[in-house]
């Protein structure tokens, strides 16, 4: 049972609690420790523990799950007060992918074991989705999970995993039934990562960085209670998780070293290219000016689209424009990189700290593929837009209804 509370009382309570607990020192400490994307710093964990104990972590959730059973509107009041003082940790019922997925689909034992720690960032997570043979075609995964007694034995290979080295669990999709069509034989697990059957190797990118890993699963053991949803329902669980991820991530721009934000009001968004051209002494070249204007416009138009989509959403009209952002961003990043290269000319042959502009142009040229390939290639994205937004018919799907073990496979990976 949830006790109903008055808005003003609630606001007062949050303010009061924050004024007593959120101190300048904590903010400084959090900032100084610069937590990575995948693990929380000790200071952050300590803070999240306090938030958790005060039941602010997931105010929309019932008390049973550490929340207060607040309505969405009241939860927003809490979030707004936290935001005012820039304190993290609340609203995880909206933004914590792991905890939300587990709470919705997990078995009681696992939920009791992990929901709390996830809200406190005491456990680290990663995603075990893509495989060398299943990139665009994620439902074509071939990692297998075979039930033996009360454990699944998992064998296979995953790629493009971030944070695999620090993760305690990975959200894993694996095939548990090979005799049904591809989408029907997949199951979804919380796979323990710290075990002998899990080997993590860094994956070197074309940018010469390693933000991702390959994960080799060799007789890795997953307790049966770590299955989310039913056996064979993994594709549905996955899609819920992916949609969830998109809706949360949708608002935030994909970051890129040297990239600029998407902020609508920012005239400054134009400055990098204009500044670069000016610095190169080429801002007066008519041919370049046309290209600078055109390229700036791509980013600007995307920002205007995003703003319009948000306005539509605010008015309760669902907007199809949102789905265009990733495709738009791909063109923006490739074009900006191309133009930077053209502005720099010969200097783009160089790299190293003496040539930061060249480093940027070259890095951005390569890293643009992170957006045009990662998370669904531009080609897949055009399919999605064509089919889901414009309502165009799908292609004939040759492997949709046959048993997965009869589906054609190819060579190569990635």
């Amino acid at each position: 049972m949830t006790t109903s509370v008055n808005d003003e009382t609630l606001r007062e309570e949050v303010r009061q609690w924050l004024s007593e607990n959120w101190a300048r020192e904590i903010a400084d400490e959090l900032e100084s420790e610069a937590p990575t994307h995948y693990t929380a710093s000790p200071a952050l964990r300590s803070w999240l523990g306090k938030v958790f104990d005060a039941r602010w972590s997931a105010p929309r959730w019932p008390e049973e799950w550490f929340g207060r059973g607040l309505s969405n509107d009241q939860a927003k009041i809490v979030e707004r007060e936290f935001a005012k003082v820039k304190a993290p940790g609340t609203g995880q019922d909206r933004v914590n992918l792991w905890a939300n997925t587990l709470l919705a689909q997990g078995q009681p034992g696992l939920k009791e074991k992990l929901v709390g720690p996830l809200l406190k960032s005491e456990v680290n997570m990663c995603l075990l989705y893509s495989e060398p043979g299943a990139g665009s075609d994620l439902a074509g995964i071939r990692t297998r999970a075979d039930l033996q007694g009360d454990e699944y034995i998992v064998n296979g290979q995953k790629v493009w995993t971030s944070g695999a080295t620090t993760a305690d669990y990975g959200m894993l999709i694996a095939r548990t039934d090979w005799d049904v069509p591809k989408h029907d034989g997949i199951s979804f697990f919380f796979c323990p990562m710290k075990q002998p059957g899990v080997e993590v190797r860094p994956l070197r990118q074309i940018t010469d960085e390693s933000h991702f890993n390959e994960v080799f699963l060799s007789n890795a053991v997953v307790p049966a209670e770590n299955l989310l949803g039913k056996p064979g329902s993994g594709w549905r669980v996955l899609n819920t998780a992916l949609a969830y991820e998109r809706s949360v991530m949708g608002e935030t721009a994909r970051g890129s070293r040297g990239g600029t934000g998407l902020g609508l009001g920012a005239v400054t968004e134009a400055q990098p290219l204009i500044a670069l051209a000016r610095e190169a002494g080429r801002l007066d070249e008519p041919h370049l000016r046309q290209q600078v204007a055109q390229t700036i416009s791509y980013r600007r138009l995307n920002a205007l689209n995003t703003a319009r989509a948000k306005a539509d959403l605010a008015q309760g009209t669902s907007s199809s424009i949102m789905s265009l952002g990733k495709l738009a961003m791909s063109r923006i990043l490739h074009e900006e990189a191309r133009l930077r290269t053209e502005i720099l000319g010969a200097e783009s042959m160089l790299e190293g700290e003496d040539y930061p502009q060249a480093v940027d142009a070259n890095f951005l040229s390569l890293n643009a593929y992170f957006t045009s390939i990662g998370g669904g290639t531009d080609q897949i994205q055009r399919n999605i837009i064509g089919e889901r937004v414009l309502g165009l018919p799908k292609e004939p799907e040759v492997d949709k209804t046959i048993a997965f073990r009869d589906v054609k496979t190819g060579v190569g990976s990635g």
Binding site: V292, S297, L324, L327, L390, L392, P393
Partner: protein, 370 residues
Amino acid sequence: MNTLGSEERDALKDSVRRLMSDASTEAAVRTVMETDTGYDAAVWKTLGEMGVVGLMVDEEHGGSGFGPLELEAVMEEAGAALLCSPLLASGVLAAELLNQLGDEALNERLLPRIATGDCIASVVLTGDSGCWTQQGVAVSAKQDGDSWVLQGRGSYVLHGQNAEVLVVVAKTDDGFAAFEVDPSAPSVTVAPLPTFDRTLRLASVDFDDARAVQVEARQPVWQAVKRTLDLALVALAGQQVGGTQKVLDFTVEYAKARVQFGRNIGSFQAIKHMAADLLLETESAISAARYAASCLAESSEKADEAISLAAFACADAYVKTTADSIQMHGGIAFTWEHPAHLYLRAARSSAQLFGGSNHHRENYLTAMGG
């Protein structure tokens, strides 16, 4: 300036759409575009009665007194329907230039009749260069005693052949001035220009020592012209995105219905991906047009930037969408009977009407500080 809430604006838009679906059907467009005047007098009268012609005329002069947001919305519907009318010439260019110049006596005489559509007015600004800039003005004015004498040539005058009154921007020894000219006066020669887009009417106007009355101006004339052009660019952007959206819609419908190789052609990636790319172009153009309207309505400091952006983004999106549409249709759209080419013609011409995209990109970069 009256500003509608977004629901009222939608209602206004709907009412124009309903009129268009009766009065500017494809068949009607094909008929009207082959007439001399290039517009349907009855439809024009209805537009006047609905308050659409007088959208930009303030209430005290008999108009609706709306602003750029309402205009943009209405122009989307006009563009979608390829409406053949002097709306842009008279209701936007002439009305707004008169607003901006603010010659009260003249406005009291002209604006009420412009608002109802009884009087069609147009603006003479650029010459044969087609550049809507100070350099593009090719008419000069000299004082002769109390009155003025005009010499030179204006061109690309929208519905010049249908105008009862021309507002002429001319160079004088002291900068720019505006004049009221009766096109049937001696030494004024109006000649229709043959147009590629048959829904468009353009004329040239030659002045050979033609007498003209100066319009009193409450602000520097070129500033009034600049503000008028800003509004005209917003209107044109609206017209363009209306057309763009319409063409995308019927192209997607065709791709859903047309079957080749036993499949709807929209299931082929070649077609599907072109459609997805066009959706991005179209939505971006719509965003640009509406943002420009909103910046102008708010007299935002970003108005210059936003209007230039809309000017090239909407023009380019319209041209690309109509061009790709023909390719996506295949042979059927290579026939005169199919509407695709009407839109392509409109897109190509509208992309040049108030300066080409390169011109607007250049202005955009300058406005962005580059």
